[in-house]
């Protein structure tokens, strides 16, 4: 049976529906963001850019910029360690031979957990009194390094990032391991014949050849930092004060707890703009670099 244009349309229809629905929702969110909707039931009262003004220059300015600053901290502090740890582990697994079978699931295990579990677990570990981290420090005689961790407004965001690095390293490792396995084995052979050490091989053979994987890993991790929510909710609830709030958390609180639906939608739009502003140039830049 020959396929006709009608068949193509038929099979594309579900996809089209999904795309329409997704972009439809986005359009709806943009519409709500320009609406003075407060309370449970929809209030269609055009508000122009009023919600954005409240956020960027009005009463919610400090809160918005705290969230924004925390998202940027996530962006800067979270991605590099996660990606590089993932790469180290992937190369390590490639080197250890058969032990890989035992080790790989071990490193992969954290991504199988839900964030709520990770958050609860790490909140226990960070507990300043009974937590394993401070107790370990005290046990090995480094008690003066014990910290209040998540109870310290200045440290708390970094503690959350620590938990996220633990959870996402396995993810980065998987992608890097696939990239390393994808490389022709001859290159490694050649490096060995030339007398390169494992470190030299890593530096001069592996790193230059995993560019594609890096692009995907970093792009995905950027998206993670922009939508981080669960860990904040479970571990600190945005606190102490609002010191660990991030944009998605702020959006949730404004929309569902405070029922400032219009303002919540405006925050969503800001997150969307931020995602496009960060991911698109990055993808463009790394693709050009890879083609060069």
């Amino acid at each position: 049976m020959a396929y006709t244009r009608a068949h193509a349309l038929l099979f594309l229809a579900p996809l089209l529906l999904i795309v329409l629905l997704m972009y439809g929702m986005m359009a709806w969110t943009v519409a709500v963001s320009m609406d003075d909707w407060v309370g449970m039931a929809p209030v269609w009262k055009f508000h122009g850019l009023g919600n954005f003004r409240t956020l960027l220059g009005g009463a919610l300015r400090e809160r918005l910029f705290t969230s924004l600053r925390n998202n940027l901290i996530w962006l800067v502090v979270f991605i590099a360690p996660t990606a590089s740890l993932g790469l180290f582990l992937a190369y390590g697994l490639d080197l250890v031979g058969r032990a890989e079978r035992v080790l790989r699931p071990l490193f992969l295990y954290p991504i199988a957990l839900s964030f709520v579990v990770t958050g609860t677990l790490w909140a226990w570990m960070y507990d300043p009194d009974a937590g394993v981290i401070n107790n370990l420090l005290r046990m090995i005689g480094l008690g003066r390094w014990a910290q209040p961790w998540i109870a310290d407004p200045g440290l708390a965001t970094f503690c959350l990032i620590g938990a996220a690095v633990w959870q996402y390293t396995g993810f980065a490792m998987t992608l890097y391991l696939a990239a390393i396995r994808d490389m022709p084995r001859e290159i490694f052979e050649a490096a060995r014949v030339d007398g390169a050490s494992d470190v030299q091989t890593f530096r001069h053979v592996v790193i230059p050849n995993v560019g594609h994987a890096t692009m995907i890993v970093v792009a995905m991790l950027i998206l993670v930092t922009l939508k981080v929510f669960d860990l904040v909710w479970v571990m600190t609830f945005g606190g102490p004060g609002i010191s660990t709030e991030v944009l998605p958390f702020f959006m949730f609180v404004a929309t569902f707890r405070q029922q400032f639906i219009g303002i919540g939608a405006a925050i969503s739009v800001l997150i969307l703009i931020l995602a496009v502003a960060v991911v698109v140039p990055y993808a463009w830049w790394s693709m050009r670099r890879l083609q060069a």
Binding site: V38, G39, M40, A41, P42, T54, A59, L60, A123, Y126, D127, P128, D129, G131, P148, W149, I150, A151, D152, P153, A156, T236, F237, G238, G239, P240, G241, I242, S243, V253, F256, R257, Q258, Q259, F260
Partner: protein, 434 residues
């Protein structure tokens, strides 16, 4: 077509017809009650079962379709309901809190009046007046409350207080004095236990401070936006007193929830804590004895002892599919027998005046019940009972930030700005309506 084929065809048609009609027949035969609530924790779930059992006994033909949604104070449930109500698929009843929280559903036209049940059960006479006020909007009652939690308890470690010959404080000043004594004689004991990881316990502590320094009138006015925060002295005084408490708080409060610190308080690692009566249930479950390990007193006693109240309530959603079941459910809640049995397990007290104080097996709840009947009842700010939920969310952020950097002027600015943005005064008119 062979005989076999014909038979097969009939079989298929019959099966299809059965499949389509069975649910309809079943539904016609059996009434349903689709219910959403947030009582999921150990004791709460069993307490809910008491109501279910009574309901089924009275309405044997109605099937309860139970949808518990975990999350204290109904944070998560509200998110779920928001979608269902906007999509016009309301359940037959759901849980809310009387007061500002309930008002949100009324404002959205998502709930219908319950005046018929209110009148039939003579609740004007059987419930305290303030309960009537907290369910009345636009001249009608919109919810049926069935239990009250008291938010202003001071729990303390009995052995520690005996050892240091301390008497339970009756004002915040006495609390500070007791904390000072504990700190000087037992440097390893945190005088005041508090866990602010979930933020809201900070509000419990502030609330008793405001009640102690300003009294209940100032309390009601503050949370309904009737005070000019910057010029009226009440809030400034309370914040200054709150600041004096900070050096005596458990230092890592930001890393703990309230339930994390109840145990250490009963163990004697911490001295006293301000929290609702629900802490009693947790302590008893963990094996700590009232009168031996811990004790609790209503707090503060001066200038006036009040019952700071949180009220669980069920409503009649507009356009509910099984209106008779809803009415039967709400009526069942007002039964003093049901309220008594339910509240013993739930760890709160009944609202119906016919439930005697001796219903409760423990001292704390007997005292709560006595206070409820004899002292002034003040709606708590918590979970949006008195203050609008939008403000409460900002308020707990302001207070927890204050605990880390106690700048009274900044806090007053933040409160003013939040009250303005959250329209506290405008949306609290219901409380002052005659």
């Amino acid at each position: 077509m062979t005989v076999r084929h014909v038979r097969m065809r009939w079989l298929v048609i019959t099966l299809a017809a059965l499949l389509i009609t069975t649910p309809a027949l079943y539904a016609a035969d059996q009434q349903q009650l689709l219910i959403y609530h947030w009582w999921t924790a150990g004791g709460e779930r069993q307490a809910m079962q008491v109501i279910f059992d009574w309901f089924t006994k009275k309405n044997p033909n109605t099937k309860i379709v139970d949808n518990p949604v975990a999350g204290g104070g109904g944070i998560t449930l509200k998110t779920v309901l928001l979608g269902m109500l906007a999509a016009k698929i309301p359940p037959d009843t759901f849980q809310s809190l009387s007061g500002a929280e309930l008002k949100q559903y009324v404002d959205g036209n998502y709930v219908a009046p319950v005046d018929d049940v209110w009148k039939a059960q003579n609740l004007d006479a059987n419930y305290p007046t303030v309960i009537g006020k907290m369910t009345t909007f636009k001249g009608s009652h919109y919810g049926i409350p069935m239990n009250a939690h008291r938010a202003n308890w001071l729990f303390y470690n009995t052995k520690l207080f005996n050892e240091l010959k301390l008497t339970p404080p009756t004002t915040v000043d006495e609390m500070i004095a007791a904390a000072k004594r504990i700190k000087s004689s037992k440097p390893n004991v945190a005088p005041i236990a508090i866990g602010t990881r979930e933020k809201w316990p900070a509000v419990f502590l502030f609330d008793v401070t405001l009640l102690s320094t300003g009294g209940p009138d100032a309390y009601e006015k503050f949370y309904t936006g009737q005070l000019n925060v910057k010029t009226a002295p009440e809030v400034r005084t309370a914040l200054q007193k709150f600041k004096e408490l900070i050096p005596y708080l458990y230092q890592f409060h930001g890393a703990k929830t309230w339930s994390d610190i109840a145990g250490p308080m009963a163990e004697g690692q911490m001295g006293m804590m301000v929290i609702g009566d629900f802490a009693a249930g947790l302590l008893v479950q963990a094996g700590y004895k009232e009168g031996v390990d811990w004790d609790a007193v209503g707090f503060p006693k001066k200038p006036q002892e009040v019952f700071l109240m949180i009220v669980d309530t069920f409503v009649r959603p507009a356009g509910a599919k099984h209106p008779e079941a809803t009415t039967a459910w709400l009526t069942n809640l007002t039964d003093p027998k049901v309220q008594g049995e339910f509240n013993i397990i739930k760890g709160s007290i009944a609202i119906h005046k016919a439930v005697p104080d001796t219903t409760y097996p423990d001292r704390l709840h007997q005292e709560a019940s006595r206070t409820f009947k004899s002292k002034r009842i003040v709606p708590s700010s918590i979970h949006g009972v008195l203050a609008p939920p939008a403000f409460l969310s900002d308020w707990q952020d302001i207070l927890t930030r204050f605990l880390y950097s106690p700048d009274v002027n900044r806090a007053l600015d933040e409160i003013t700005s939040a009250m303005d943005l959250d329209k506290v005064s405008e949306s609290s008119g219901w409380y002052w309506a005659k």
